[in-house]
């Protein structure tokens, strides 16, 4: 029940926000909404953490949510990152702030739904729903060229999600599963013949590759980040919305193991290439947000490599990396908003020497930035390490290439820090403000927590990755597979 509330509460707040007349209640309302979602997430354990209600019997779909597994971990971290984001956006967005906050809350509701859904149709519904806020924030609050960026984003996203739609619709009738609930599908879908699996998997993989994103389906990402509102809040929402890896991990790979097997070489190659290619571009880029977007793209390449290694360590590591980059990349986009406040530009040439006026800001940025490129002891390291470790076990070539990316990312981080904070200051920068401290506090805390104590989260990811592997093993067919597989 609590799991369902985790979705419904932010949605309710999102719907209520536009009606709140008094401007001074907007930000508190949004912050309380996100905080309450986070508290619910912490409380959602055991029986209260999952819910199953029949939704449309005629379609075989359920309103099934579960916050006790890997998705629950990601949902909690997403809510934790959304907290400073809402705080920041409420102060920095001047034009119709209550609507912007409402869209952020809607994003959180959709994301929570994506992570918690244990029914494939429900997952798809949330997947699509979350697109609307992303588009609305870009179209409504973006910069001059937002129109083109919106159209590009829309076309990419819709092409992907409609391909997935087809796979969603095909997987049940073709496999003869009783319904769309994960366990029902798991009993039937892995027994499909390899060719059918490959086709259905391809539909999923196309959508997830666009949302990951990986080369060559990443073009929308860079423009979206460049054109988003300069506060960076919409970019954080966009970063949390990079759920393609989760989709592969939680749905496509366990349900269609032979399809995953068939497409793994392609996934590995594209993932490794993306990681290196994007990291190289990131080191060269002169636009702060575009550079961050490319760096985040590079992480996604590593996530893809970890996932397509089809190895226990690689898969759980890639989820850990996904969770960590929500915090660190998200945090960096918030930093970009703070920097924009100080210089009114995202061009790196406009910066330099900020550390002199704002040493504290420089220090926290350093923590988040270095965490994001995988410095040990900080958030991204465990995930990145395990992703690559897994890849070395099953696909050494891809792993070797991907390792190059993490080296390039290190160079990127050092270069970025130098260009922004060191060197000659043209004008004195303002030091970190109380609001910014409040925004940073949860980000830095999460960064340290994920880096120092990753074990609990990793265990959750591993349990799910392991369960999928057991289910996929042909020697142990699920008990009721024979009964329901008759229609194939």
């Amino acid at each position: 029940m609590i799991a369902a509330l985790m979705v419904l509460l932010p949605l309710a707040v999102a719907l209520a926000l536009p009606w709140a007349k008094r401007p001074e209640v907007h930000r508190p309302l949004a912050v309380v909404g996100v905080a309450a979602t986070l508290v619910l997430g912490v409380l959602a354990t055991g029986d209260a953490g999952s819910l199953e209600v029949s939704w449309v019997p005629a379609l075989g779909t359920w309103f099934a949510v579960d916050a006790t597994g890997a998705g629950g971990v990601l949902a909690r971290i997403a809510a934790a990152v959304m907290l400073p984001t809402v705080l920041w956006a409420g102060a920095r967005v001047d034009d119709r702030p209550q609507l912007f906050l409402a869209w952020l809350l809607a994003t959180l509701a959709g994301l929570t739904g994506i992570f918690l859904a244990r029914d494939l149709v429900l997952f798809y519904v949330f997947w699509e729903l979350t697109l609307l806020p992303a588009l609305a924030m870009l179209a409504g609050w973006g910069l001059t060229h937002r129109r083109a960026a919106t159209v590009k984003y829309l076309l990419y996203a819709v092409a992907g999600s409609f391909a997935m739609f087809l796979s969603v619709l095909a997987i049940r009738p073709l496999s003869g599963a009783e319904g769309y609930r994960f366990d029902q599908l798991l009993a039937a879908a892995p027994l499909l013949d390899p060719l059918t699996q490959a086709w259905i998997f391809a539909g999923f993989a196309f959508a997830f590759a666009i949302k990951l994103p990986i080369f060559p389906l990443h073009a929308w990402l860079i423009d979206v980040h460049e054109q988003n509102h300069p506060s960076g809040a919409a970019d954080v929402a966009g970063t949390l919305y990079k759920v393609g890896g989760f989709g592969l991990f939680a749905w496509a790979m366990p349900l269609l193991p032979e399809g995953a097997d068939a497409l793994a070489p392609l996934g590995l190659a594209l993932g490794a290439f993306t990681a290196v290619y994007a990291a190289m571009i990131a080191t060269r880029h002169a636009h702060l947000k575009r550079a961050l977007a490319y760096a985040s793209l590079s992480h996604m390449g590593i996530v893809a490599v970890g996932l397509f290694s089809l190895h226990l360590a690689g898969q759980s590591g890639s989820m850990a990396l996904l969770a960590a980059q929500m915090v660190t990349t998200g945090g960096m986009f918030l930093v970009s908003g703070m920097l924009h406040d100080r210089r009114g530009s995202f061009e790196l040439d406009a910066f330099g020497g900020l550390a002199r006026g704002a040493p504290a800001l420089a220090a926290v940025t350093l923590v988040v930035l270095f965490a994001s490129v995988g410095v040990p002891g900080l958030a991204n390291f465990p995930g990145e390490f395990l992703s690559l470790l897994g890849a070395f076990q099953s696909a050494p070539a891809a792993a070797v290439v991907a390792v190059l990316a993490s080296i390039a990312l290190g160079a990127f981080a050092v270069g970025l820090y130098q260009r922004v904070f060191q060197g000659e200051a043209r004008e004195r920068a303002t030091e970190i403000k109380p609001l910014e401290v409040a925004v940073f506090a949860p980000i830095v805390a999460l960064t340290l927590w994920l880096g120092v104590a990753p074990a609990a989260n990793l265990a959750a990811f591993e349990r799910e990755a392991g369960a999928a592997e057991v289910a996929a093993a042909p020697l142990v067919p699920p008990a009721d597979a024979e009964a329901s597989g008759g229609a194939r």
Partner: protein, 496 residues
């Protein structure tokens, strides 16, 4: 079959009789009174009464667990008939209210308007309830004759006259094809009624399978005109654009639903008698080609339009393709999918035309996309309503259009039409472009000096909009309201 009707027959016919009686009443009062608002109220009462009778008969038949028949089987009250009658009456009611809100401005207040609308709906009811081909033809003609006149309603409008004329000529041609198909079917089997055709074709010495196929194909073509399958859709964009907008709304829901009901019944009852083997595969194959072509032509056609009304016309063709996919599936699953799709399309389509009516000029012209510029800020409610409608038509959750596509495509994949489902999804991506264009114009483009002011929304129009949007949302989140209701009927597949 030529027995005099009994009281039991009259009960089954009650919805149709109600509509005809109220049509006569409205006509009669129209001669004596100048109180036009009262006429609209009278007509609406008729539709609501017919709707109540339909629901009552439906519940009764469900309780009994068997279809009811009247006039010796010529008129049937089975699940297909009830479901489609329900949708037709809902659509007719919404269109009536919509027309009433713009009655004076669009010169829809001559006394003949409402009777014709009611008669068209009555024809639609007969068409979807017909147990034999002659009754079906009768229903089709009652409906079509009324709509020919309605399409040409706009005074001193060449476009409207052209629309009526075009619709009439092509409609008459389609009817002729249909009659020919009926004749051949009768020649092959000696029967007009669907049950009799099936029995005759099942006989071991049935030799006229080729003739029956030819008849079935002609029937298909005749009905394809009415549902606007490509390449028989040519009339539709001009007629939809030329007709007064409330009439366009009426056509896009009532006429389409009725024609699809007839198509489902006809193909559903002819596929099996045609048997297995080469001859049996022709009809589904031809239908599949038409459906595929319709999805492509409709969506790409809509992509090229600069007028919103004309875009909606092509989009109506595209949606006919998706419903056609359900017809191809046939059986209980096909009826379930098609009826859900048409019900939700009824609400969204009428709501779309309702918004459009509030934006167009006094003379019902001017539907260019640019007029919507800045609507998001100028008229937030109107823009939100249109945005919901467009998102639903494009197939975004949580709106009904999403579930509609889901049930249709899932049924198609389950029935082995995966390639058509792929084509359907591919064309649906194209569709997102032109639906999103409307939304983006409203929210992203700034109005300029040429952007005309919008009129205040009439209360009746607002009611139609609110009902349409609410139903789009409710049926999208709780599709079980209709799907499970339909699926629970045990006598769905009891044959026709």
């Amino acid at each position: 079959m030529s027995l005099p009707p009994t009281m039991g027959d009259l009960t089954v016919l009650l919805p149709v009789v109600t509509l005809v009686v109220f049509a006569s009443l409205t006509l009669l009062f129209g001669v004596f009174t100048r109180e036009r608002a009262a006429l609209a109220g009278l007509a609406l009462t008729g539709v609501i009464a017919a709707l109540a009778f339909t629901v009552f008969l439906w519940l009764d038949a469900r309780a009994a667990g068997a279809p009811v028949v009247a006039l010796g089987g010529a008129f049937r009250g089975d699940a297909l008939a009830f479901a489609f009658s329900f949708i037709i009456l809902v659509g007719a009611g919404l269109a009536l209210v919509l027309a009433d809100g713009h009655r004076v401005r669009l010169h829809l207040d001559q006394p003949e308007f409402h009777p014709l609308l009611l008669l068209a709906a009555a024809g639609g009811l007969v068409l979807v309830s017909a147990g034999d081909l002659v009754t079906a033809l009768l229903g089709l003609e009652i409906m079509s004759l009324a709509v020919y006149v309605l399409a040409a309603w706009r005074e001193r409008s060449r476009v409207s006259e052209e629309a009526g004329m075009k619709y009439f000529l092509l409609g008459a041609f389609a009817s002729a094809v249909l009659v020919y198909g009926i004749a051949l079917t009768f020649g092959a089997t000696g029967h007009f009624d669907f049950a009799g055709i099936a029995v005759a074709a099942a006989a071991p010495d049935f030799a006229a399978r080729g003739l029956l196929l030819l008849g079935a194909l002609l029937l298909l073509v005749g009905l394809a005109f009415k549902v606007a399958f490509a390449p028989f859709h040519q009339w539709l964009p001009d007629v939809y654009t030329g007709a007064p907008t409330p009439v366009t709304a009426f056509m896009s829901v009532v006429v389409k639903t009725a024609a699809f009901g007839a198509l489902l019944r006809t193909t559903g009852s002819l596929v099996e008698p045609l048997g297995v083997g080469a001859i049996g595969e022709v009809l589904p194959a031809v239908l599949a080609v038409l459906v595929g072509l319709t999805m492509v032509v409709g969506n790409f056609g809509a992509l090229l339009q600069s007028g919103v009304k004309r875009m909606l016309a092509y989009s109506a063709v595209a949606h006919a393709g998706y419903v056609g996919l359900a017809v191809l599936v046939g059986g209980a699953a096909g009826i379930q999918a098609a009826s859900y799709y048409l019900l939700t399309y009824t609400f969204t389509s009428v709501a779309a035309f309702a918004v459009l009516l509030s934006l167009m000029d006094d003379d019902d012209r001017g539907d260019r996309l640019e007029r919507l510029a800045g609507l998001g800020r100028r008229r937030p409610w109107l823009a939100a309503a249109l945005a919901v409608v467009m998102l639903s038509l494009a197939g975004f959750p949580p709106f009904a259009g999403f579930v509609g596509k889901a049930v249709v495509f899932q049924a198609a994949i389950a029935a082995g039409h995966a390639s058509l489902a792929v084509l359907g999804i591919a064309t649906a991506v194209v569709a997102v472009v032109f639906y999103a264009r409307v939304v983006m114009t409203m929210y992203l483009r700034e109005p300029d000096a040429h952007t005309p002011a919008t009129r205040p929304v009439r209360r009746r129009t607002a009611v139609v909009m609110a009902l349409g949007v609410a139903a789009t949302l409710v049926l999208g989140v709780f599709p079980g309201l209709w799907l499970d209701w339909i699926a629970r009927a045990p006598w769905w597949s009891a044959g026709f």
